[in-house]
């Protein structure tokens, strides 16, 4: 620990409640707690604490809490404590600052500045407990041509589709960045829910091929673990061009996370850093992208939809327009608040744009150009609740990707130190003793609970609007009103201000 930096969080123990069971000591991979035999009591070293709350949650008498340190430099609105500490940290190490999970900075959250409509008097709300409420979504190219066979019968020319029971999928998290047990939980939950999880760029462990019908396999710039069986096993193939947390940046999985199993799955040597280049070295244009899309389609007999995932950046609408013409079936857009196992802090906190604005501009652009039906749109990058899902769909998305919410459901407490690899919750780690802390039976159940609860809420919200099908909500921006947004923001979002009628 840097001598310049006072610990940001402090472990506070209530001595009246602590029974000295030492559960906190046994459960902390950062070795914060220990029992002092001379003092005959538990003591804690806050400098090592990452505020993951493992000890707080497991303490049987609730004797522990973690509080934000009140230690402060002279108050300065420009040079805040964290800003100063980051300078100290870099002065001590000479390194690029690394962070994990999504951008925590106080940028506007447009979801929270958008309000939903409900039916009153002139159009009745619908009770989802008494009447059918359709949340099934099909993702893929919806446009098809009318072609008849020799006998005049219609031929099915519909492109391959993904069927989701609810407009929610688990977004890409690679095996390597997250543990085997976390992957198993996601795979099992997606299967039970009738939706999909995403392998991320780390390949697919052979044990999980059985969940193939609910797996989206990713092809990223590092091409880790990509081979024929992998592509054939997935229900869809996702080409990852970018990630919301670190647009324009590749990936770097440290060698210590490349265990024997990860090495076999990724098809790279054990213990060697796994570097994903920033670009795909064979893609420098939409035409190049089209070649990869059709290579993947050709190798899987045109049976699977191909997703192209991009980070939400300034020019995202034009990029999406190109992708919609490139042969892709689905565009996934990842907003600037999207999570990550590790990203350079400056990139994570300063690059990209909010998903709400990106989604609205992409949907509008594709509609204007008459190519919206060429593709489905999936959005991710901090979808935090069912209300966010409903708002995203009303802004024009076909479905949402969730990952931060999913890892939270599994136990993550957003301590944002995934990059260290010592996740006390057994999620973002490859250390066997830590991985076993995540029982996939429990984690899968919690994931299923979360998404089921959200789906119930989506049905309730839709019913309130008098809408009985997710299809009728998609792009229905009249169901949205902005509060506290300026003209430009309203124009980009394509919504009216609260108080404005039709």
């Amino acid at each position: 620990m840097d001598m310049f930096i006072y610990p940001e969080y402090e472990v506070v123990r209530n001595p009246d409640l602590c029974i000295g069971c030492r559960v906190c000591e046994r459960q902390c991979a950062n070795e914060v707690h220990h029992y002092d035999f001379d003092l005959k009591k538990m003591v804690a070293d806050s400098t090592k604490c990452v505020n993951c709350h493992r000890c707080v949650c497991l303490c049987p008498t609730h004797a522990l809490k973690i509080v934000k340190s009140q230690d402060t430099y002279k108050t300065n609105a420009n040079w805040e404590n964290q800003t100063i500490n980051e300078v100290y940290r870099q002065a001590a190490t000479g390194g690029v600052l690394l962070s994990s999970m999504g951008n925590p900075k106080p940028f506007p959250i447009y979801w929270d500045k958008i309000l939903l409509n409900a039916s009153q008097v002139t159009n009745p709300p619908i009770d989802p407990l008494r009447e059918p409420m359709e949340t099934t979504v099909y993702l893929g190219r919806q446009k098809c041509e009318v072609v008849r066979d020799g006998s005049g019968k219609l031929k099915n020319t519909l492109a391959p589709q993904l069927k989701l029971n609810m407009p929610i999928m688990f977004s890409a998290m690679s095996y390597g960045s997250i543990s085997y047990n976390a992957h198993e939980a996601l795979a099992r939950a997606a299967t039970e829910l009738g939706t999909y999880y995403n392998t991320g760029e780390g390949g697919l462990h052979k044990d999980f091929y059985q969940y193939g019908p609910n797996t989206i396999v990713q092809v990223a710039s590092g091409r880790f673990g990509v081979f024929k069986d992998y592509l054939d096993t997935g229900a869809a193939i996702e080409i990852k061009m970018g990630q919301g947390a670190k647009p324009g940046i590749g990936g770097h999985l440290p060698g210590k996370k490349i265990s024997a199993d990860v090495s076999a799955t990724r098809m790279i040597p054990q213990g060697v850093d796994a570097i994903s280049p920033a670009p795909h070295h064979d893609i420098y244009s939409i035409e190049d992208l089209r070649q990869l899309i059709y290579s993947l389609k050709e190798s899987t007999a045109y049976k699977k939809p191909v997703i192209v995932k991009v980070a939400a950046v300034h020019n995202v609408a034009a990029i999406a327009s190109g992708i919609a013409r490139s042969g892709a079936d689905i565009i996934a857009i990842d907003g600037f608040r999207g999570g990550t196992g590790a990203a350079p802090t400056r990139i994570r906190d300063n690059v990209g744009i909010p998903i709400e604005l990106a989604l609205a501009s992409v949907d509008s652009r594709l509609r204007e150009e008459g190519i919206r039906d060429n593709v489905s749109i999936v959005v991710g990058g901090s979808i935090r609740s069912s209300a966010d899902v409903v708002k995203a769909i009303a802004l024009g998305a076909d479905a949402c990707y969730i990952a931060t919410a999913a890892v939270l459901a599994m136990g993550c407490h957003l301590c944002r130190t995934c990059n260290v690899g010592k996740c006390n919750w057994g999620i973002a780690t490859q250390v066997p003793e830590l991985v076993k802390r995540l029982n996939p039976d429990v984690a899968a159940e919690r994931l299923v609970n979360l998404v089921t609860a959200w789906n119930h809420e989506i049905q309730e919200i839709m019913g309130g609007m008098g809408i009985n099908s997710i299809e009728a909500l998609r792009g229905n921006r009249l169901m949205l009103r902005g509060v506290g947004l300026n003209e430009t923001e309203l124009k980009i979002l394509g919504i009216r201000h609260a108080g404005e009628s039709l």
């Binding site: 409640l17 000295g20 069971c21 049987p60 004797a63 003793e433 076993k436 802390r437 029982n439």
Partner: protein, 146 residues
């Protein structure tokens, strides 16, 4: 009958079950009051292996319990549904049961006068085994496996 089973694959060796057991059988409603500053005598014990293996051991409620057969005072018996129980008022503290139990699941109680063992939290206010209820990783389960 339903028994407590342990899946060592998920046992973290956190030892919470020991404290939850001691609390459950303390007769008190406040854990800190019940256990603070005291040595605990739980009916469940976590064995910690050297290679990262942990296993919470308690009474298996054997179908032919050697402890019941060895009890000279008739304190140990098997209920109709198969739970092995102890009547401490009959126990003379010979601890033959402690010696014969192949699992080490019976031990002298806190004052050393009688034996104690897991009775599936049927004799306290928990209603269901407290170790199972509080296992953070579902390593200890309460199931009928026939």
């Amino acid at each position: 009958m339903k028994r407590i089973y342990v899946n060592e694959q998920w046992c973290l060796g956190c030892h919470l079950c020991e404290y939850e057991c001691a609390f459950a059988n303390s007769g008190m409603t406040d854990m800190a009051k019940a256990l603070k500053g005291k040595e605990i005598h739980p009916n469940i014990r976590v064995e910690d292996g050297t290679d990262g293996i942990h296993f919470a051991v308690n009474c298996r409620h054997c179908s032919d319990p050697i402890c019941v057969r060895s009890c000279i005072a008739g304190a140990l018996s098997r209920t109709e549904d198969g739970m092995v129980q102890i009547d401490k008022s009959k126990c003379v503290g010979c601890f033959t049961c402690v010696l014969v139990c192949p699992y080490g699941a019976i031990m002298p109680d806190a004052d050393g006068h009688a034996a104690q063992k897991c009775e599936l939290c049927t004799r306290n206010l928990c209603g269901e085994p407290n170790c199972v209820k509080h296992c953070p990783n579902r390593a200890i389960v309460y199931e009928d496996r026939g």
